[in-house]
Symmetry: C2
Subunit: 340 residues, 2 copies
Amino acid sequence: MPDSNVTLEHVARLAGVSKVTVSKVLNNTGRISEDTRKRVLEAARQLGYVANTAARSLRGRPTQILGMVIPELISPYFAEVARAAADAASRQGYDLALFTTSRDPKRERERVGALLGGLADGLIIVVPIGAAGFLADLERSRAPVVLINHFGASTHLPVVRADSFQGSLAAVEHLLSLGHRRIGFVTGAAHSSQAAERYRAYQACMVAAGLWDEALVRPGDFTQRRGFEAGLELLSLPDPPTAIFAASDLTAFGVIDAARAKGLRVPEDLSVVGFDDIPAAAHAHPSLTSVAHPIQAMAQAAVDLFLKARAGQTVRDTLIEFPSRLVVRASSGPAPRRWP
Amino acid sequence: MPDSNVTLEHVARLAGVSKVTVSKVLNNTGRISEDTRKRVLEAARQLGYVANTAARSLRGRPTQILGMVIPELISPYFAEVARAAADAASRQGYDLALFTTSRDPKRERERVGALLGGLADGLIIVVPIGAAGFLADLERSRAPVVLINHFGASTHLPVVRADSFQGSLAAVEHLLSLGHRRIGFVTGAAHSSQAAERYRAYQACMVAAGLWDEALVRPGDFTQRRGFEAGLELLSLPDPPTAIFAASDLTAFGVIDAARAKGLRVPEDLSVVGFDDIPAAAHAHPSLTSVAHPIQAMAQAAVDLFLKARAGQTVRDTLIEFPSRLVVRASSGPAPRRWP
DNA sequence: AGAGTTTGAGTTAACGATAACTCAAAATTT
DNA sequence: AAATTTTGAGTTATCGTTAACTCAAACTCT
């Protein structure tokens, strides 16, 4: 309402026709004489008319806006997902409206309701998200909703996610094949299902290799700061690791900082592997070995699922899982020989 | 329209009242008996009713959504601005809907129109943005719009911006006071007005000190990769700089990488100063001396201006300029003595 | 007890856009 | 020239919500 002022009525008056005629001209529907069409278009241009989206939406027309909810804006991973989704949506003529997850589950539910109630044509939700009962509501509403990286409570909503287990396994095996035996791990945030997967793979691999040592695991939270601290802790152990696998790239950068602070060279004295393959991983020096999610493909798949749902096709229970992939760069190398 | 299905009508039927009564209950307007109120609330809860935002907006009610347009999502600077704005908006009961600038100015104009036409109650635009005629349209529409970091064509729209000149001046003077005489500069992206300000300050300061040398300036684009390349170029000069001022923190990180690649220590052999004071600046090792914009205060000011405009107060021609501030950390130190 | 007041609903109309329908005038056919 | 079709508009009704109004029943006062 603020002051979108100019309505069909105004344009109609200026062009000397009825407002329905204006609507027809602007939507290319119905029969309109060339003369009238010109007059109307000119009037619309002159007044700077832009259709009121609320009215249009109320009448059942799509807004061409795709909503997306992500936990936060700062993390490069989510930023990349958002950007990829915005690109994919844009290619299909949609604008992506980005929201961050609300801390208050009740407000979150209302907001999602508000979005689907005329503001957006659909929603892509990157979990973690609150209550599961909320997901049931969404299912019931039959609105076009797609979840990304959902691992938790079962739902019939379509899900796109990346398998972090295989990639993490590959990372640890890569380090083992380089001759490392003491391999440290810095975990991700406590309640992240992605973080849990990464840890599970590390543990499985180390146990299988008979190298498991709980002292080599330090809690992290995906941040660089914690990576630095955890790195210092690990490198101060009596029998320190020669390689460290971190649950995120930022954490890995923190570990590298810690190594430098200890006077160690990467990768000569310490190999470091991260997770996420954020852009900085390739540009950093040394470049960072990391596990990559195919973010572009995931975002594209999510947008495609949204379009399918919107077109009336059923996407119930669809699960698209992408593999993660180890990208070997300069931060990982052969294990140093301790006693030459 | 997707399927927000449940309308006032449905709730009304279930509660055995008219839909207006339901509206009154949910909006706490009019006189309603305690008994009816309870029945209605229960019915609404049971059906999971959420008001249709489009209809509400059409009727003149605010959507409680504040739109924000930023050039891109990946840059930590914009991500911080968006986060700060989301926080500030949230404190006032608004949700922030984030959009990235469209490459197509025509589509951009339409989208902004669509946003103000019922989707959002106002808009915060972080320039760069397209055509200036477009800004004139916005002015005319009298919609609550606030610009952040606008330096270009004159407008009567309220503007919040940070002065980058003073902070850049302080950065160069800081390096001069540490004894540096050869101070390099890596510019920001070509068409950014912020980048121009930073360069202007560097130039002014160096000319004033009689130390100007065009060879010490290398073009950048705010990225780490270009920082690395430009850093290598500068450090390969016959008479290389002992300090480098970079137009962004990412660029500064690239410069530090370049120094390391050349076997130089920071800050012992090379001092580096960045711009933006992104979170990583404080966490990196060495921590990065950088020029900071008061992003939180800027975002808060922008949201406040929006609220003022929305409340009907005039904000025409308001310009709020914040100072930038030099944050001295570990990456800058005394100039090395070249010939002991 | 009659007049006025309060209570707790319901009715109507409007926001702006558009699908479905109507209808006179012009163009075409027979 | 009469009958039919086509053209180019305009009318009406509707989406879901809510402000403004209406109105009967219950309650209060003298």
